[in-house]
């Protein structure tokens, strides 16, 4: 994966040899990927090393007018890409500098920062007065980890490069561990380690010889004062998608689209077709399931090539270790559904892989809680949002959505010393986030979504798409400011169940709305009451069908595969495919020395799970991820 590491010294400190920083970039290297090149730049205060791969080409470095730049990802200044397309001999960073210099303020001004668009991490260093600025985008979609001590600030796009410095203490943060084990994500700017932080969204970190400061240049303010009709938002969404796709994708070579056949990937696919972009499409699954069939129909409807990538039976076993290493200790390895297949995607001639991750969170209201009813012991969600009258109800709703199931056995997992924080921290951190949200939104649903959108880059499935950067250039129209602004002004009622979103698809391509949606089994343009009925019936029928097929011997090599999606059932995954690995690491790993868990409780939980008496798959996966991370350090 491309990335960089650097040290900025405060007055009177000794620099690390440039060569050592180059070694620290080894943390970024992807298994089996050749052609990486390592470069460095240094002066008396800043030492920087970066690793790039010419086939990926998502790092841009330049120097002009007394500034040094390093940009990773897709950066636009308004609608102009940086570096700009320039004539031969013209420095492509000149427009960028001109914009910075036009600011009246001495440093990097707010109005300049608010013009920055895209999915990027930008480093700007003013050479003469030795001032460093590192800027994250509005989602912090590209991670920057940093650690500061009295002598230096060390920063890197991979936490392992920060940990590689002997001066970085490696004490683990118990609150972070509690959150990770609870929900597979760590909130706020924390990482697994005390003192190592993640640069949050829309933030500029500025370092000078005597001080460092971070400041937010933009925030998620929800516009709740006046609303339009639903069609307005649908049309705006369709246009925004076209606009974002054009900005983000039209200058990227050799496109490939991860096509699940869901609403997000259909929208992107339709946008690309409308603006005339050619792309290959791919679906990844354990077998030719409903998702694959639907995706193929979508691709055929748009006359795009479609390929199905079969995950081999031992996929998760072989992906476990490299993905944990890649995770920065922030995400469970479970969400690495495509990582080990990316080399195959490259072999298809794809250089840029497009995905629609996270768009559903914004425009489908996926996490707005639904009312539910119970029938014959089974829970059925309704297409009706649940009321959130109080802060506590928002907190509870989020905990319900994010919490990996827990019972008494799971609660007994924590050691005596750790149990208090294990129990209190998940609620405490959500509560803090909701209180923050109260200053930015009045509507409870917006407050709820703020917690998730504001921590998007910490989201538990973040690894699903970010891991693609190890081998390919990754693009997602989600990170367009225009699209984000539209989200902030769309009322929750139109976001819920993707109401405006489906109509937006209709604006782009009516035919795509007639292709069934996997979950409901019916086309997207059917009324909600039919959809409600289908949501109750279709999964039940499919589930029984799959059971019968298994009895007949199908899917023998994929004991964890489900009918619901292309993601394996975590309980079955642990029980059938990863038993030895998880057992081994949980019973014998170095993480036990942290004293956070009770070894006897682990033995019992493993026993119950493997015997099929309980389902602790997600918990065990989270714990195993943590255990292996500690082991690998």
């Amino acid at each position: 994966m491309e990335g960089f590491v650097g040290t900025f010294l405060f007055t009177g400190s000794e620099p690390a040899p440039t060569r050592i920083l180059q070694h620290w970039t080894n943390a970024f290297s992807a298994p089996g990927l050749e052609g990486d090149q390592v470069y460095s730049w240094t002066d008396s205060r800043l030492t920087l090393a970066w690793r790039l791969n010419p086939d990926i080409g998502d790092i841009h470095v330049g120097q002009a007018n007394g500034y040094f730049f390093l940009i990773i990802g897709k950066l636009l200044l308004g609608e102009n890409p940086i570096p700009s397309h320039s004539k031969i001999g013209e420095n492509p960073f000149v427009p960028f500098i001109q914009e910075i210099l036009s600011e009246k303020s001495n440093g990097i001004g707010i109005s300049f920062l608010q013009k920055l668009n895209g999915s990027f991490l930008t480093l700007i260093y003013k050479i003469n007065n030795q001032c460093l600025h590192i800027i994250s985008d509005r989602f912090a979609s590209r991670h920057l980890f940093y650690h500061q001590n009295p002598k230096r600030i060390l920063f890197a796009t991979d936490i392992r490069a920060v940990l590689a410095d002997a001066k970085t203490p490696k004490k683990m943060n118990e609150a972070s561990i509690a959150e990770f084990l609870h929900s597979g994500m760590i909130f706020e700017d924390r990482t697994l380690y005390d003192g190592i932080y993640l640069l949050t969204s829309a933030t500029i970190l500025s370092a000078e010889p005597e001080k460092v400061e971070t400041r937010k240049y933009w925030n998620l303010f929800y516009k709740e004062d006046s609303y339009e009709k639903e069609d307005y938002y649908s049309e705006a969404l369709a246009n925004s998608f076209l606009h974002a796709s054009n900005l983000f994708l039209s200058d990227s070579p050799d496109l490939g689209l991860m096509l699940s056949g869901g609403l997000d990937s259909r929208m992107i696919c339709a946008s690309m077709k409308t603006i005339g972009l050619n792309t290959k499409t791919f679906t990844f699954a354990d077998y030719e399931n409903g998702e694959v069939r639907i995706a193929r129909r979508v691709a055929d409807a748009l006359s795009y090539q479609h390929d199905f990538f079969l995950r081999p039976p031992d996929y998760y076993r072989t992906a476990f270790f490299p993905v944990v290493r890649l995770s920065n200790g922030l995400n469970s390895f479970y969400h690495s559904h495509v990582f080990n297949l990316l080399s195959d995607v490259r072999e298809q001639g794809v250089k840029t892989l497009v995905n629609g991750w996270g768009i559903d969170l914004l425009f489908s209201g996926s996490y707005i809680p639904r009312q539910a009813f119970y029938f014959l012991g089974r829970k059925f969600s309704q297409i009706k949002s649940e009321q959130l009258p109080t802060r506590d109800s928002i907190v509870c709703a989020l905990l319900d959505e994010l919490r990996v199931p827990a019972d008494e056995q799971i609660m007994s997992l924590a050691s005596t010393a750790f149990s208090k924080i294990w129990q209190s921290e998940p609620r405490d951190v959500i509560d803090r986030q909701v209180r923050l949200a109260e200053g930015l939104a009045d509507i409870p649903y917006n407050q709820l979504e703020y917690v998730l959108v504001g921590n998007l880059s910490k989201f538990r499935s973040y690894l699903f798409f970010s891991s693609t950067r190890a081998y390919l250039r990754e693009r997602n129209p989600l990170f367009d400011n225009n699209l984000l602004d539209l989200y902030l002004s769309t009322p929750p009622a139109f976001r819920f169940n993707g109401r405006a979103y489906r109509k937006a698809l209709g604006f782009l391509n009516q035919k795509l709305t007639t292709i069934p949606y996997l979950k409901s089994g019916i086309p997207l343009n059917y009324p909600e009451w039919i959809e409600q009925f289908s949501l109750m019936l279709i999964p039940f029928i499919r589930g029984r069908g799959m059971q019968l097929e298994r009895l007949a011997g199908r899917y023998r090599n994929y004991p964890a595969a489900t009918h619901e999606s292309s993601y394996p059932n975590p309980d079955l995954l642990v029980r059938n495919c990863l038993r030895n690995e998880i057992q081994d690491i949980l019973l014998r790993g170095k993480y036990l020395e942290l004293g956070l868990v009770e070894p006897k409780a682990i033995t019992k939980i493993l026993h119950l799970h493997f015997e099929g008496k309980a389902n602790y798959g997600e918990r065990l996966i989270n714990l195993a991820t943590l255990a292996y991370w500690v082991e690998d350090q």
Binding site: A16, P17, R19, I20, H23, D165, A166, K167, P169, K170
Partner: protein, 385 residues
Amino acid sequence: MLYCGPMADWRYEGILCGYVSLYRSTHDARWLDRAIIAAEDVLSAQLISGKFRNSAFQQGPMEGGTPHEAGVDVGLLELATLFREIGDEHWQKYFRAAELNILRYQIGELWNGEGFKDQPWDPIMVPNKNATLIEALILYEVLSGQDMTLYLEKAVEVILSAQEKSGPRAGGIIHRGTGPHRLAIGIYNARSICGLLRAYERDPRDEILDGVYGSIGFLHGLITQDGSYFGRYPDGSLIANPRMIAGSGDLLRAMAWGLKYFCGSEEDVLTLINVLTKAQLPTGGIPTGIGFAWRGSHYEYQSLPEFRDILPVAGWCDKAFRALALFTSQITDGEIGPVESECLWKGKKYIFRETTNEISLSELHNKKLIFQWKKFSNYPTVYLL
């Protein structure tokens, strides 16, 4: 353990360098006095050939030991450097002794144009032995003004060419003297790192720092709370026994030195300091290791220590002494006491005893001695091992 007499081997490297470090940090003259006594021991053991009598630590009473005599040279030259800094003319005496050894033996007999051989008849060039020589030659170069570049560059190359660049032992430096087994041994990697660091400080080339970085990364995987694993086999599997304790002093020195160049971690340094201090016996000695009973095995030995584990040996304790002296700025007198402990030998339990007068091993029930060595004597009085 049959010959227990004096040897002028690599123990003097640690002893002399340790005393020099203590003097530098405390300016207490007693450390200088002790260094002089040790240096005089070595001088009296030097033969006309330039070699040192009984310098072959692992071989027994034999001169020409490698890297032992180079280690002795390092000790003498560190002392000579100190003496010269403080303006004491005695530096020349120790310098000349080291010079005689370097010119007549190391360069005269072991140099083959591509590096330094293990013995005059044995063409194998062992990396860690070349590393000790690098340290000696650089110290000699500074004191003598003679340019040692030709020898140093080749010796560095011997080390770097033996380093595995990738695979399960990436960074590990192979001990070429282990034949087809091609072991990567922790304590010898540590010595190689120190040679490379000395060379890097003289001539800061990237490939040398690369070698240091890689080898320190390899060592990181060997460090445990109760010693350092012996090393790794070619397939990357652990040589879990013995876990070296006293000899981990060389790892500590290497890791501490590496920190200066941002290689390694402070945690590993602290762990190693803890390993040495925690293991120290009341007699002041430090056990050699843990797991000699399962020598070579992949699986950590967890049972009662074996006789060879618990026995403190001068030629390993000096490494601990030298390394710990780097972290010491104040010495307080401590109490010495006896040691009595159960241990195993050939699968049977015995009592190990050490006092200020002797080391013995006796049967558990009838107290029959199977080994007894009275300190300051050259042979055991009882040897039935």
